[in-house]
């Protein structure tokens, strides 16, 4: 049942500094495709490089080697890894006018951490919620309040809403594999209770990431220059709500420098959105 093999096998051995399960993914700028021959591949290998971009990137990487200890590419050889995209020339992706204009600058060196992943799966059979609530551990069911069983497991620490139609929502995981693993655990619990549960159409619906740019941001300036994307009503909410069009991500930007990114379906969108916004935020840095 492994439809999406999310990680290439070699990458699981690499430790990432922040303790996340997957290695940090390096440089993401609007001009950059998702994979090069030098780094572990993320899930989507959709675009390929142009030779010009690759040369630029290599130059930049050499300049920044001392800054970005996060990038494991320095320890790997330059030979393309199995499953990597070859360096074929391809047409440059055009900069769409709706992307906020960013200078092609160095990357931030900050990787957003995933905080929450919401996924859904179809267990493929009708369920009797009362039976599940009575016999399963850590399950609550209050039909007057809500028509689903709320089940929790400790490892990975997640919560699931199980509906009588057989559909299930799983929230609280910190990575895609954890979410999938947790969903399978819930499915197994249901299976053990005697229902013919399957694991159909597992899909990640939303991913939330957060990070800290470590400098204060002048939100009044940002809302003025990026009016069509942002709204800032401090009486309502202390953060600025920035609706990025490409990728379609909503960012909550706070004065302290903390940024929350939500609305992603894949991890790469969060990284790309952050790399898009970082130069803009640097421009509105509040200096003393």
């Amino acid at each position: 049942m492994d439809q999406n093999n999310s990680l290439p096998p070699y990458a699981q051995g690499l430790a990432s500094p922040q303790g996340a399960m997957t290695p940090g993914i390096p440089i993401f700028s609007p001009m950059m495709p998702y994979g090069t021959g030098l780094t572990p591949q993320p899930i989507q290998n959709t675009s390929s490089l142009s030779i010009l971009e690759e040369q630029q990137r290599q130059q930049q990487q050499q300049q920044q080697q001392q800054q970005h200890q996060l990038f494991h590419s320095q320890t790997l050889t330059t030979a393309p890894l199995p499953g990597a995209t070859p360096l074929y020339p391809s047409p440059l992706t055009p900069m769409t006018p709706i992307t906020p204009a960013t200078p092609a600058s160095e990357s931030s060196g900050i990787v957003p951490q995933l905080q929450n992943i919401v996924s859904t799966v179809n267990l493929g059979c009708k369920l009797d919620l009362k039976t599940i609530a009575l016999r399963a551990r850590n399950a609550e069911y209050n039909p007057k309040r809500f028509a689903a069983v709320i089940m929790r497991i400790r490892e990975p620490r997640t919560t699931a809403l199980i509906f009588s139609s057989g559909k299930m929502v799983c929230t609280g995981a910190k990575s895609e594999e954890q979410s999938r693993l947790a969903a399978r655990k819930y499915a197994r619990v249901v299976q053990k209770l005697g229902f013919p549960a399957k694991f159909l159409d597992f899909k990640i619906q939303n991913m939330v990431g957060s990070c800290d740019v470590k400098f204060p941001i002048r939100l009044e300036g940002l809302v003025l220059t990026h009016q069509q994307f942002s709204s800032y009503e401090p009486e309502l909410f202390p953060g600025l709500i920035y609706r990025m069009i490409k990728p379609r991500i909503v960012l909550l930007i706070f004065v302290s420098g903390k940024v929350v990114l939500t609305g992603a379906k894949v991890r790469a969108e969060i990284y790309e959105a952050f790399e898009n916004i970082y130069p803009i935020l640097k421009g509105f840095r509040k200096t003393t």
Partner: protein, 317 residues
């Protein structure tokens, strides 16, 4: 709907009832609010007291008019529809209110998706209140819209000039601040009447009224109160700017006598002008702003009696 005792300068009957001293006063919050809206770092206490009085009086009058409309409808509570109805004349302010409602819905939708506990809470409560407020406003305006111009506001994407000016002013103000000042500024910007809902309700003191506002109406009232303060600061800053006689300004000799009367006659205009820029807003600016706002300008204005006011000029609607 004839409000004869509707001068904002005189203490209205409601506030004179508290002549022993207002038990609930928003003076401290208003001070921060005015700073965040463009006033100086420490607004004057007299100005704050005056602004509080003006806002309070206007809100009470607004509530009374809304109560009368409710009665016409035969409803038992003042709801948001009555307030929307009162605002129907001024399209720009109405559009700002609707945008505010929309942003409110949108923000709760996003914040819900972030925190998983919030997500569960929302599912448990079973309410689908995405876009609830905006939908509601749209439905109501649909029902009273005769010419279609109210509904056109929802699609309308014009730039709100007043809001634009406020944003630019805030941007200018914050550009020169340092981190500590800016942090304080941001905190002041987050103050609003809706955060202190219970205090706001006590301040309004609706206990003497037969028809009381419901929760949504209170939210809108809190927003209107904030808008009133913002409008007052906008207008007062404009008045203050006018007071400075600029060299080469052809109309400086034509400033009206009543205007100069408010001005402190002891000091010369130039000296006052210089310090007015760095000083806080004075009560005289506020009074002049309200006076100008309430004055009827039109072909028949010389012939209408100055002593009979036909209703208060609401700053917020």
């Amino acid at each position: 709907m004839n409000n004869t005792a509707a001068s904002p300068m005189s203490t209205a009957t409601s506030s004179s009832g508290r002549s022993t001293g207002k038990s609930v006063s928003f003076a401290a919050e208003l001070q921060s609010m005015m700073f965040s809206l463009g006033d100086a770092r420490r607004p004057l206490h007299e100005t704050v007291v005056l602004v509080e009085d003006v806002v309070h009086t206007q809100l009470i009058n607004l509530l009374q008019q809304a109560a009368e409309i409710s009665q016409l409808r035969g409803a038992r509570v003042i709801s948001a529809e009555d307030l929307l109805f009162l605002m129907r004349k001024d399209k720009k302010k109405l559009r700002r209110l609707i945008k505010y409602l929309f942003i409110r819905d949108y923000k709760s939708k996003i914040v819900k998706g972030i925190d998983e506990d919030d997500l569960l809470e929302d599912k448990l409560s079973g309410s689908s209140n995405t876009n609830k407020r905006q939908k509601f406003a749209q439905d109501f305006l649909n029902s009273i819209d005769q010419t279609g111009e109210l509904l056109a506001m929802f699609e309308d994407d014009e730039i709100d000039e007043v809001k634009q000016e406020r944003m630019e002013r805030a941007e200018r103000q914050t550009r020169i601040m340092d981190s500590a000042q800016y942090a304080e500024f941001c905190e002041s910007r987050q103050l609003s009447f809706s955060k202190k809902a219970s205090k706001f309700r006590d301040w309004l003191d609706c206990s003497s009224m037969e028809i009381k506002p419901n929760v949504v109406a209170m939210e809108i009232l809190a927003y209107l109160a904030y808008e009133t303060v913002a409008q007052l600061v906008d207008l007062a800053l404009l008045v203050r700017q006018d007071m400075v006689t600029k060299a080469g300004d052809p109309f400086s000799h034509a400033i009206s006598a009543t205007f100069i009367q408010y001005h402190n006659s002891a000091e010369s205009t130039a000296a006052c002008g210089v310090e007015a820029h760095s000083d806080a807003i004075q009560p005289c600016h506020i009074r002049e702003a309200v006076r100008r706002y309430g004055r009827k300008i039109g072909p028949l204005s010389p012939f209408t009696s100055a002593y009979r006011r036909n209703g208060m000029a609401f700053l917020a609607c």
